[in-house]
């Protein structure tokens, strides 16, 4: 039991971090990016490739994150461009459909490139004991990196001028423009940042368990569930929901099995939407 709770916390931290990227894109620009998971997978593949080419882990990871960031930038400059002339629900809907197209393209390409699903990324290590439970070194390192990244993210949004500017657009776009903030630039920044976050999560995930090249859609769905439960647009909500759902998932998985644990997560998300459409920590508009 302790082991699965610890596993759950590791997973939950990663879920939470993952969801912040998605929730920011939605809160800031009304964009639901269904290609999010695929961005993560590509970044991870690039990391492994440069490691195979002889680069040490840390620089390779940085290359991977840069890849995610560049992918975000490319999306902003190409496919998402037509979105910015739309408003409200029309924008969300089209972003969903266009990013679905991007997700399919990436999935198709990756499956073609690695047809046997053979490539799984795993940067692991030995096991050490925590509270008398064996924890893999990879898990611990992954958690540590995730926590540091979260703290950095929270500090960025609370204490820096740029971070506050991003939040101001989420709170009141017109107000933000009135103090001289360009919402488009903030959205571009967030797309780049979310790409880097997706990459980081894929990398830390691969320290705990193999990440398959076809994992993209699953990652997006997890992020979406966490985002919805935490409240679309809420950073703290995403972090909290991630940890809660991670623990629920891990306990359910060890107690009843994988399929059912996923169903429990899905049902939890559905109930949240129905009971509190704005999410756990979201505020009703």
């Amino acid at each position: 039991m302790t082991a699965s709770i610890l596993d759950g916390i590791v997973l939950g931290l990663q879920f939470g971090l993952l969801a912040t990227g998605l929730t920011l894109m939605y809160g800031l620009g009304g964009i639901l990016n269904l290609a999010y998971g695929q961005m993560a997978v590509i970044s991870a593949i690039v990391t492994v490739s440069v490691m195979d080419a002889g680069l040490p882990v840390v620089p390779a990871a940085l290359v991977g994150m840069a890849t995610g960031a560049v992918l975000g930038w490319i999306l902003d400059q190409t496919v998402f461009r037509p979105l910015y002339s739309l408003r409200g629900e029309a924008r969300v809907l089209l972003s969903l459909l266009l990013s679905l197209g991007v997700a399919l393209m990436i999935d198709g390409f990756l499956n073609w490139l690695f047809p046997l699903k053979g490539l799984s990324l795993f940067i692991g290590g030995g096991a050490i004991d925590i509270f008398g439970e064996p924890m893999r070194r990879g898990s611990l390192l992954a958690s540590a990196i995730t926590i540091v990244a979260m703290a950095a993210l929270v500090a960025f949004f609370r204490f820096t001028t740029l971070g506050r500017a991003v939040r101001s657009v989420i709170e009141d776009e017109e107000g933000a423009r009135l103090v001289g903030i360009d919402p488009r630039k903030m959205l571009r920044l967030i797309l780049v940042l979310s790409g880097a976050i997706a990459a980081l999560v894929a990398l830390t995930r691969s320290m705990v368990a193999p990440v398959d090249v076809t994992a993209g859609f699953g990652i997006t769905v997890f992020a979406l569930i966490v985002t919805v439960v935490g409240g679309l647009g809420s950073i703290t909500g995403a972090l909290a929901a991630g940890i809660i759902l991670g623990i629920i998932n891990a306990i359910a998985a060890s107690a009843i099995g994988t399929f059912m644990s996923l169903i429990i997560l899905l049902v939890a998300a559905a109930i949240t939407i129905l009971v509190r459409p704005a999410g756990l920590l979201g505020v009703k508009e």
């Binding site: 001028t161 506050r164 500017a165 939040r167 101001s168 709170e171 009141d172 017109e174 107000g175 933000a176 423009r177 009135l178 103090v179 001289g180 903030i181 360009d182 919402p183 505020v283």
Partner: protein, 232 residues
């Protein structure tokens, strides 16, 4: 300082404001008065670039800003306080003010000036903007606009939703700012308050400027007296 020429602007259904021409000189305070729905808000939103003008030009410091986006207009030194305020409700008073100085860090002197002008904001610097009263929010909105050290402050009905005492307080603050040399353009329905502040004014009716003149002349105009001052 500000020169609006033959400006027409509206929404999808058609123009709401027609061929408006107005001028604000350095150091002046100018009012635009008119009833609800006369087009004051539409006009002001077009001036700061929140709405695209159909025809006509807006010049600020001899620079054409008709098609310049709001966020850049603001950085040129034109501050705008909308009637709905558009504060950041889940941020503290201090964070709201700090963002007013974006992209720079807040200048301590300006911050002290704003706190001095609105002591209530100093008391509540850690409070979330969304939890404050209407009057406090209005002060914060003005304060936030001042943080960018504007040379022209444009206010759309700053007394919206305020009790008479608070409305008078808001105008006292504007009078202080005026004496310090700030140029002001204000749209107002509570005409007596605006008249006391401003040198000149325009009357906007049905989207068209029907009268203009010094505050004193307008105060003597029988139609203005009947329509806006409640004097027969």
């Amino acid at each position: 300082m500000l020169e609006v020429r033959d400006l027409s602007v509206g929404y999808e259904g058609g123009d709401v404001v027609h061929d408006v021409t107005l001028r604000v000189d350095d150091g002046e305070a100018v009012m635009v008065i008119g009833s609800n729905g006369a087009g004051k808000t539409t006009l002001f939103r077009a001036i700061v670039g929140l709405l695209r003008a159909t025809t006509g030009t807006v010049r600020f410091d001899d620079r054409d800003i008709t098609a310049v986006p709001t966020q850049e207009v603001v950085r040129l030194g034109l501050g705008f306080v909308p009637a709905e305020r558009h504060l950041f409700p889940r941020m503290t008073v201090h964070e709201n003010l700090a963002l007013g100085a974006y992209p720079s860090r807040p200048d301590p002197e300006t911050l002290a000036m704003v706190m001095d002008l609105f002591p209530r904001l100093a008391e509540r610097r850690r409070q979330l903007a969304g939890t404050m009263s209407g009057g406090e929010q209005q002060m914060l909105a003005i304060g936030r606009a001042l943080m960018a050290k504007p040379r022209l402050l444009v206010l759309d009905e700053p007394t919206t939703g305020l009790a008479p005492k608070l409305a008078a307080e808001a105008y006292e603050a504007l009078a202080v700012l005026r004496r310090r040399g700030l140029t002001v353009l204000v749209a107002e329905q509570q005409v007596p308050l605006a008249m006391a502040l401003c040198d000149r004014g325009y009357v906007l009716e049905g989207g068209v400027v029907t009268k203009e003149g010094s505050s004193a002349d307008l105060a003597d105009d029988p139609e203005v007296r009947r329509a806006y001052l409640g004097i027969a």
